[in-house]
Symmetry: C2
Subunit: 146 residues, 2 copies
């Protein structure tokens, strides 16, 4: 559809404040980490709490076992992606949070994150809280080319 | 809601045939790879083609540069996640494809994947086809706890 005008840049980079605003409501995000079978991505239901990402996972589930192994290795780097895309309109945004994950172990921290009241999307008994402290937050918005 | 019956297992593991059936229509998936800033996850518009995942990316975009660097390192392992989740119902499925990514370079392979007619979700001129050949396909379905 070349009409002589330069193509509009379809990707707009979002600053950190805009990213945080977009992901503030919580919902479904995708957690990526290096698991026992390699790079793994799973959807989880998350909430934002004091600038960090909180979600729950079942004690001793494969995800928990992977995270435990990773977290035991010291700082466990993960990525967390949140997006809202309308495939029909080919428009939307995505935010990528890179950071370190840890289990919420102390009673104080547990009480604090429980206030975030994040519900596990898988249902059932999910006893472990995992928290991701962002070290890098980037995002982009895609518009339908003009 | 304990009524004395044992809780239904909320996670059902899906076999490879069921995973392939679920992801066959294509659409939005999330590509995870190790980029220059660490673990990276981005949404892309994909199509299935002869049992492989095909998507397009812009020549010389950050994603392309990352993928080029990775692919040049030999077999570049990536993960590709597709899901369909209803947060309200807390039900849905997710599929994880782990495999190796490569650029589609040869004219023959390019002609073949062009038949898949995958549209880039970011719009604009996207000249590169990337193909992920699965080495491991796993999936799970989540039901609202009974």
């Amino acid at each position: 559809m070349s009409d002589g005008t330069p193509p509009r840049e379809p990707l707009e980079h979002l600053d950190e404040a805009e990213c945080l605003r977009l992901i503030a409501p919580g919902g479904i995000g995708r957690l990526a980490y290096t698991g026992r079978y390699g790079l793994t991505v799973l959807p989880v239901n998350y909430a934002m709490h004091e600038g960090t990402i909180v979600f729950r996972t079942a004690y001793d589930s494969p995800t928990d076992q992977d995270l435990r192994t990773g977290i035991a290795d010291a700082e466990y780097k993960v990525a967390f992606e949140i997006d809202d895309i309308d495939p029909g309109a080919r428009a939307g945004w995505s935010v990528l949070v890179q950071g370190a994950a840890h289990h919420v172990e102390s009673a104080d921290e547990r009480a604090s994150v429980q206030a975030a009241a994040v519900e596990p999307w898988a249902g059932g008994e999910r006893e472990l809280f995992v928290r991701v402290i962002p070290t890098r937050i980037t995002g982009r918005r895609v518009r339908r080319p003009g």
